[in-house]
Amino acid sequence: MPGDVVEIGVQMIEQQICSRCGWSLEDTVDDSECPRCLLAAGMSDTHNSETENIGQVGPYRLIESIGKGGMGIVFKAEDTRLGRQVAIKFLPSLMRDNHELFLRFQREARALSRTSSPHLCIIHDVGESERGPYLVMEYLNGETIKDRLQRGVIPVADFLDLSLQLVQGVQSAHAAGVIHRDLKPANIIVTGDGVAKIVDFGLVKLNAPTAPIGETQEYAATRQTLATQHDRLLGTVPYMSPEQAAGHEVDQRSDLFSLGTVFYEMLTGTRPFRGSTTMLTIHAILSEDFTPAHEVDASIPLSLSNMISKLLNRDPAARFSNADALAARLRELGTEPWASLSVPADLPLTPQLRVSRWRRSAFVALAALAVSAVAVVLFMAWRVRDNPPVESSVAALQPKPPKVAPDDPAEPNRDRYQEPDFGEVLDPDEVRGLVIDPVPYLDQLNPIREDSVAAKFMADLQFHMAGSMRRQVPVIPVTKQEWDRTIQATHNRLPESSFAKVGMNLPDLKGNILFTMDGQFVPDEKRYVFHLRLFNEYGRQIFRRGFAFQERELHGQPEICFDAIMSTPIFQARTTPGKPIDPGTVQSVVIAPIFNIASPFTRFEFVSDQFRESLRQQLSERINRDIRVVPASLDEWQVMVDKDQGGIHFMIMDYFKANALVSVRGMFREDTQSYDLDLTILDHDGLWLFRQRFVYGRREFEQDPEVFRRDILATRIFQKPKVFQKPRPSE
């Protein structure tokens, strides 16, 4: 496709992205200077897997890299003996040592090649090279079902044709005694001639760990581990059969279940079992009912929908007995009157019938799901140990109300909003006992003379932040009503013109958690990028997650924020029952800073038990003291406006009163012509008691700067009685 390549190249250069590797060129205009490609070109041949000089493996001349997945890198190559094009897949070194599995895979590959099925991607050769084991496969010029689905669901008439081809491929493989175990849209290629081909038959099990595999039970345990830990790599969980997800030995009927999930997705554009996390997806597969396909899209014939439902039965015995029976059923369906109706190709992915509105009681449902997820782990651990028979009591054919709404663009799907690149999830169970090195942060925070009483406060703060311990922090989620009020208040507070720039900032102190959501609108992408952070009572960040919402979606349904937040692990973690935190168990954690803010929360070190114990004693008194916020007068505030900071006016006000630091920082924003001010109140231990952002239009603020002082005094924290009761430590 040389024409396409040229076009992509032009487009990429416009975006200053390397046309070969997609890496951002930043200030480099010419992609021949792409640092990533230059580095690749500098690698010696044995390391050079992605550049042009990729050489020869056995009789195969490698031409170009055509893909990279969990299973390895794939090259287009030429078999120099026969002059034919082939695809060569190099398997990661992970598998290199697992010789027994590899031999077994070789046997299966031979068996498959003997079937001569036109619907299986044939493996011509298996070999070993310096780069590790490799597979030589048929070179297929086509599109995967996964890619095809990006353009919309597959019309029923086309579906009948494709599905029958797929079943025939599965039939041949099963007849040769090979089970796929990883059937999914990405593993099915439809060639330009409309021939469906299944790739990677039997390949997935090569990814099993290197422990000796022989016994089926051991294998089952391995699969279970894979299913729960490495599914992201394999990408198979949503298509796994219940018996596979539960870690049991699988037979041919497991492939039929996976085929059912693929069929479902081909017709509806959505998967029958979904969850915002792996565990929730497994939970859905094991115990939730799916929405029958004809209810997702009324244009899907009932008989076809019933066939898929039969494939998706949790009880393997209730599915089709084998691929032959499924093929027979598909042929029967092909004779039904609806099958001959022509359907326009490439229908957009918009099912006409929505199954259910998005659940308003999201929190209750999610809490229940979270409990179930924990239960699934325990359940699975138990199942693996005792290896009981697969449960067969659930009749999947009985339609029941869906637990999760379908993957409709107009329907919120929590998964879609999460921006995993923005940071790592902090599991509160894993981050205890860590100490923050606060120096860079305090450098910027400390605007106070050394001889002042505030300096002592800051010194204390520094000590405290360096020395305090992490304790169990109950996360108390906001309710929907509270959320509505907060979001409404924020909307009202922000001048209309500035909303797009500042997005939301929703700080709130809940229990002993400071809950903030802030972000911005990215005009080019027409989406909001938000950033949820939770701070514990020591002002320490215990959780963060990035979210992105399309502008249209968020404006239409602001509550999707709420749902996305509630789906985060930390709100589910609190339901872990009766598990006291033991501060003695220190585990490591790595935190990636979010954005490129000079974050105080990026550097951690370990402390010894003794040190921690001594700190505990020193701090226990402070922890139990009450905090007084005394707003007797704000007149003492010094207001400083520094106009010399690169065109931005900074404003810093600090007021140390009683035992709390009331601090305001902010600036005038040229872009929105508004004053953007942030009120923060810290207690004597550095605890972040309160935070509120105020945004004023330029005219409003400059005509009456007192508005700010009045608004501060009107905040919740100043309405409280004199003493702000600090939560007692939980231990």
């Binding site: 390391h47 860079p440 800073p593």
Partner: protein
């Protein structure tokens, strides 16, 4: 670099123990090479270009004049990591004092939130951590240095024109581009192919040499290249 054959580690050790004008000069050259990655890191931390410049400059001044690397030990492994951790240490300890002195304890401190806002403004296009930025810039500096050396070699050999035409082919290949190069240089296509191959080979050697300067154990060159390559995908 005719009179600068030592590795970064040996320069560090020489300056650390007994600084001569020669070793200081060597150090100065080295600092020039690594100024940009540290500056990018500092900028990301403090948010203000002039502050970041001051800090980076102050760090290198200290490195050159004050035996800052006295305790450096090549056993620590990669110079890349060593330099960053030394710089982080410097930022943590020294910057605070410097600021207190320079500013006389006045209240003109950049608001933390202001810094955050600046960070946010560029966040839409760049979500890399300071450490990632440092490593990316490290790679750019490294490659730029290698390219300069390569160009210098071709220039000395009177082949500056050939270098200009073939340079893009270090990362590219294809019938059309060789043909174009051949046409430009007025040589046959196979000669162009051969010349590119030589250029690429020399480039690899120089890159390998350059990287070897930054590691303690020369056998780690391949793994360091692998690491640097992985930096782009992390």
């Amino acid at each position: 670099m005719p009179d600068f054959e030592s590795t970064n580690w040996s320069v560090v050790r020489a300056v650390g123990r007994n600084a001569t004008s020669h070793s200081r000069k060597a150090m100065a050259v080295m600092c020039q090479k690594y100024w940009q990655p540290l500056y990018v890191f500092a900028l990301n931390r403090v948010g203000k270009p002039s502050d970041a410049e001051d800090l980076t400059q102050a760090f290198f001044e200290r490195v050159i004049e004050k035996h800052y690397f006295e305790a450096a030990d090549s056993e620590r492994g990669r110079f890349r990591s060593f330099l960053l951790s030394a710089f982080q240490h410097f930022l943590s300890n020294e910057w605070k004092k410097d600021r207190a002195q320079k500013r006389g304890g006045q209240h003109q401190v950049v608001s933390m939130d202001g810094v955050a806002e600046i960070g946010m403004q560029s966040a839409a296009s760049d979500q890399r951590t300071p450490e990632q930025l440092y490593e990316h810039q490290w790679i750019r500096s490294l490659l730029s240095h290698v390219m300069q050396r390569l160009e210098q070699e071709y220039l000395s050999a009177g082949k500056a024109g050939q270098f200009q035409v073939l340079r893009p082919l270090i990362v590219k290949e294809g019938q059309a581009t060789y043909g174009y190069a051949a046409e430009q240089l007025n040589i046959s296509e196979s000669a162009a192919r051969m010349a590119t191959s030589r250029l690429r080979q020399r480039y690899r050697q120089l890159l390998s040499d350059e990287i070897a300067e930054t590691i303690a154990d020369q056998e780690q060159v391949a793994s360091e290249i692998q690491y640097l390559f992985g930096v782009f995908d992390s």
